[in-house]
């Protein structure tokens, strides 16, 4: 072989190796995580909630007996027919999966004989692994955990099994009515039900009540802004209060507010503030309008707000905000529900929450919906059945049991489970209301947040729209022009729309608005 041929062969082999790695068959499902110590679960209950000890401990040990004729009891009867079967269930890796590993899966197996194999997967891959498995015709998964905004893509792609027939046959219809009306709107796509709601994720504004009630703070704030120091109800008030506390505490490393700004989820806070300001995602021709005057104002305000937040907030994620908040360094934050429980120390002794910083704010926290009066119904989780599953009925039985009022009511109280109230029975649960001194107030705000909240954009290509917007926002955080950044994002949005199909997207967007109503645009 001469040098020329040898060189060519060398190049081609190298190149082929890259293609092989890029285009290999979809990976086999990840091996299940090592079996957790389910036999001797740690006591997950915090010191502050004496009465909660019983509730949470019992939730971890065994499920409460299901009500006869309820969805949980019916699911158990149905699943018993499949005793000995193993169901493969995808779940977000890490803390999220402690619920099925320690509670749901062992309990379901004990009650029905159906074994649950929890396949822990990073959040971003819950989507791609499900699609890859479906397209390969694999049937590697029976139950799929997914974000509600992916429903359209998963349903259109044939990944999810319609559940209407199962619901009709096996579910107690009263339990459907128990679902909060907002979350009930999410479960359908093109007239069919593709999932059962499983997590009431809604942003909450947590604030330091002691800072707001401090007499000197109140007097100084009134002198500066000519109004009372109260939890902000508008974004302008948020900026003012944040600036006030930051000026006051910066020397002690205390700041008025912080919101996670790192790439990945920062679009959620834009979605919230943009729509509270009156913004809309598309016009009637399905052209993106995120770069409208309202969009530019929103992003400019977000960039300016960073100046009152801790230095480096542009790289802060959930954990950084949590760390500073629990350390008592922040006056206000807007984030997901678990922080409300952890702020009060609920369950922080549990092994699963060892990584959570010890709280210095217990008993000092107030709750409110986000400024503007509408909290983002940020992400959330749904449970569906894979269309390739060989055990569809058993898989459905498992998700009906998980989301039934009795079982879900226990799951939302497990300290290390990251599922939050989404049923009326959760919001009205007297046991939950006793978990810490102002837990009832917390539940009330979660319920209000659900009622007035704003749903993430849930149309085909939702992930791509989100990522394009997220890139624009982080570009603006780093000093880029907000208008130019949003113009670029709008161009990307239009390209996504055109690629998927303008007319079909128009119909999907209209359907999303009609279904969500005031939860799409206030």
């Amino acid at each position: 072989m001469n040098a020329k041929k040898r060189t060519f062969a060398f190049s081609v082999v190298g190149a082929i190796a890259m293609v092989a790695s890029a285009c290999a068959a979809p990976p086999a499902p990840a091996a299940p995580a090592p079996a957790a110590e389910a036999t001797a679960p740690p006591n997950p209950v915090g010191e502050l909630a004496g009465q909660a000890k019983e509730v949470a401990a019992s939730a971890v040990m065994t499920a409460m007996p299901p009500k006869a004729g309820g969805s949980a009891a019916r699911a158990i009867e149905l699943a018993k027919k499949y005793a000995g079967t193993t169901l493969n269930v995808t779940w977000e890796a890490g803390l999220q999966s402690q619920d099925p590993l320690l509670f749901s899966a062992p309990e379901f197996e004990r009650l029905t004989g159906v074994k649950i194999n929890v396949i822990e997967t990073p959040f971003t891959e819950l989507f791609s692994k499900a699609v890859a498995d479906h397209q390969a015709g694999g049937g590697a998964y029976d139950v799929l955990n997914y974000a509600p905004t992916w429903l359209a893509d998963l349903a259109d792609g044939g990944v999810l099994e319609p559940l209407d027939a199962y619901i009709e046959q096996y579910m107690n219809k009263d339990d459907l009515n128990d679902l909060h009306p907002t979350y009930a709107k999410y479960q359908q796509w093109k007239g069919k039900t593709y999932g059962l709601w499983d997590d009431g994720d809604v942003f909450v504004m947590y604030y330091r009540r002691d800072w707001f009630e401090d007499d000197k703070n109140k007097a100084d704030f009134k002198a500066s802004y000519n109004r009372e120091l109260t939890p902000p109800k508008t974004w302008q008030e948020w900026d003012e209060v944040c600036s006030f506390f930051t000026e006051r505490g910066k020397a002690n490393n205390e700041y008025g507010c912080a919101i996670q700004r790192t790439a990945g989820n920062t679009y959620l806070w834009f979605y919230e503030q943009f729509r509270s300001n009156g913004g809309r995602f598309f016009d009637e021709d399905m052209r993106a309008t995120i770069n409208s005057d309202i969009g530019v104002k929103t992003l400019t305000d977000m960039v300016n707000a960073n100046k009152n937040m801790p230095p480096g907030v542009e790289k802060w994620g959930f954990v950084e905000v949590l760390q500073a908040w629990m350390d008592g360094k922040l006056g206000m934050i807007i984030t997901w529900p678990p922080i409300g429980r952890w702020s009060e120390g609920y369950g922080l002794e549990s092994k699963q929450l060892e990584w959570v910083p010890k709280t210095k704010v217990a008993g000092k926290v107030g709750y409110a919906v986000s400024p503007g009066g509408h909290s983002e119904l940020a992400v959330g989780f749904m449970l569906g059945v894979s269309s390739n599953s060989k055990n569809k009925e058993a898989a459905y039985a498992f998700i009906q049991w998980l989301t039934s009022p009795e079982i879900s009511g226990q799951r939302v109280k497990i300290p290390f489970a990251l599922r939050d109230p989404y049923r009326m029975s959760h919001f009205n649960d007297p046991d939950y209301a006793k978990l810490w001194p102002n837990a009832a107030e917390y539940l009330k705000v979660l319920q209000e947040g659900a009622a007035t909240g704003l749903a993430d954009l849930g149309i085909p290509g939702a992930r791509e729209y989100e990522e394009a917007l997220d890139r624009a926002i982080t570009a603006a955080y780093s000093g880029g022009d907000p208008k130019a950044a949003l113009d670029k994002a709008a161009e990307e949005w239009n390209a996504i729309t055109e690629r998927i199909g303008v007319e079909s997207q128009k119909a999907a967007y209209a359907d999303w608005q009609a279904r969500l109503g005031a939860n799409a645009y206030p």
Partner: protein, 317 residues
């Protein structure tokens, strides 16, 4: 029944013996080599050529999350790629990253190798310690340096603050001015030792008599470096550059951990973009087209570099 006919043995006419006889016949005609390489060839075709051909087919289709069975769309994905500002931006970032990182790694590696080529006390401890970064997984390096670059709690800002006499609050990984230097420092910290080790081996292999002769002839240090050391080390250096350039061109881990391509798409490389397109958004056909374009670019670059190096070697020989 086995019979001997002269010096040949005749075996009974069973299927296996007939097959073995055929192989012997091939061998007799010097064709047995094909039989011997056949298994390896079939394996390569199955695991290398098939995916390549499949990728080419897929790149002309429209498979994505909603479309499992693709239909033929012609060169649309390729045309889209060349109109895709994000792809072109990622390509530019990749070339920029490769050029700067490999240049600095080469220079620093060469300086280190020159420094440590002679007798140095403690050299046997210094060299292994210098090699430590190379054996760490790049993803771990990325996440570790991400903590070092942290604005509030990172030691880099803290040390700078000691010198400045005031708190330094540089947001290294979100500031457009500092983000690339932060990435380069991380990358160069990890991979300079590789360059150093290869070049040290090359320098060690040079016969010291050449340098001594140059010294006797009155050559300056620069002249010795320029006309003795560099030409002799070039074949080794060229291979090191090629290895590092190929590795840097497909960089993913370090940037994924440090910035994930941000802020915006300022540090997004082709690998990160392809990952996002294929494994986050599941646009499989478009990802196949992007990857094939990348292959074409890499193939041309490798061919060019290899020919250039071969020519240099022949000239020096």
């Amino acid at each position: 029944m086995i019979r001997r006919e002269g010096y040949r043995i005749r075996y009974p006419s069973t299927p296996i013996n007939r097959m073995l006889a055929s192989i012997r016949a091939l061998s007799d005609k010097r064709k047995g080599k094909y039989v011997l390489v056949a298994p390896a060839t079939v394996m390569i075709l199955a695991i290398v050529l098939f995916p390549l051909l499949y990728a080419i087919v897929v790149s002309f289709q429209n498979i994505d999350a909603r479309t499992a069975v693709g239909t033929f769309v012609g060169p649309k994905n390729y045309l889209d790629a060349f109109r895709d500002a994000r792809f072109l931006n990622a390509l530019g970032n990749t070339l920029f990253f490769t050029g700067v990182a490999v240049t600095f790694e080469l220079l620093l590696g060469f300086i280190l190798a020159q420094t440590l080529i002679g007798h140095l006390p403690g050299k046997r401890f210094i060299v292994p310690i210098l090699m430590l970064p190379v054996v760490i997984a790049p993803l771990i390096v990325g996440y570790t340096w991400r903590m070092l670059w942290d604005t509030q709690y990172g030691p880099i800002n803290q040390v700078l603050g000691w010198f400045a006499g005031r708190p330094i609050e540089l947001v290294w990984l979100a500031n457009p001015v500092t983000v690339w230097p932060a990435i380069f420092i991380t990358e160069i910290w990890q991979w300079t030792p590789f360059m150093f080790l290869v070049l040290l081996a090359g320098l060690t292999a040079i016969n010291p008599e050449y340098r001594e002769a140059a010294e006797i002839d009155g050559a300056s240090s620069w002249q010795t470096l320029r006309y003795i050391t560099l030409p002799l080390i070039w074949p080794v250096m060229a291979v090191a550059i090629l290895f590092r350039a190929l590795d840097a061109f497909k960089v993913f881990d370090i940037i994924f951990a440090l910035t994930n391509g941000g802020p915006g798409t300022m540090t997004e490389t082709i690998s990160l973009y392809a990952y996002s397109v294929g494994f986050r958004n599941f646009r499989i056909s478009y990802m196949a087209a992007l990857t094939l374009i990348l292959i074409a670019i890499v193939s041309v670059a490798i061919t060019f570099l290899w020919r250039r190096m071969s020519a240099d070697q022949e000239r020096m020989a």
